[in-house]
Symmetry: C2
Subunit: 184 residues, 2 copies
Amino acid sequence: MVLPLSQRERKVRILGIDPGSIVTGCGVIDSDGMRNIYIASKPIRVQAETLPERLKLVFEGITSVIHQYQPEAVAVEKVFVNRNADSALKLGQARGAAIAAAVTQGLPVSEYTPRHIKQAVVGKGNASKEQVQHMVRVLLNCQQNLQADEADALAVALSHGHIGGTLGRIVESSRPTAHKRKRR
Amino acid sequence: MVLPLSQRERKVRILGIDPGSIVTGCGVIDSDGMRNIYIASKPIRVQAETLPERLKLVFEGITSVIHQYQPEAVAVEKVFVNRNADSALKLGQARGAAIAAAVTQGLPVSEYTPRHIKQAVVGKGNASKEQVQHMVRVLLNCQQNLQADEADALAVALSHGHIGGTLGRIVESSRPTAHKRKRR
């Protein structure tokens, strides 16, 4: 895929999030649409006794990553739930807190389907989870071990980078004009 | 139920929230554990094209009510989902954003089961939704029409007031000590 010149020239810092009720993965990359550079990744462990405390950990964890790495865009996997309603509620709560953290920082949030992510990272819409995680390491030239949640978060960030904000189902939040990000 | 003297003497301002993916109800009351005074209620309509925008409306709506009415405690109905997983995910996302808004304002958040709410408001754990909404108006001497979401939000606030923070399954978030609320 050949991206427009403007996109190839401009490096964008992207935060990928893989929300979960036990661990929420975060991955930050720089992408010019062709080359991608690994910046950081971490699993936010959501270990607390009560639901409000767990959601606070998700919200504050994402907010802290945004403050530390100053991404310009956020990407989240679009989920299709076929598990039981109780798991879906728990996942929904974590997603709600994570996405709220990103939009309240004035960042545009895009959602990508699992098929789009696999297509962008492996080139095959029906690739296995292991193939995606392997290609994340290859594409980012990542030496260290990545946990599954980190790799999944980096995969959705890569999808946003590859797709360059023009393809896929882009879901952009309104970005308050008063909110300025300091980056190089 | 006779509450301890300290609780009967002290008036607490409580925000009840009834999160929903289309409308999130809010209700604010003052309660000394015996008498309850209606302060305000409103439905936050979550009408926006994208999920991030909708979650932003929920988060900012709750934050704005907290800033305007300065509650000291927040109460939310504990949900048990038996509907399909997709509805549960949507409800979960709204709950996640709403609860995150309250905890990031440093407020303790309590969850009450539907049974507890019905018991507290009607005196019968298996009361109908209509009975609960009727008793909310009676207990708060409310003249104006209340939408169902507002009445449900006021019902959970009343449960917290009645129960006085001592009964029910109280789920209290950690409250940052640096966060001070200005109230009389």
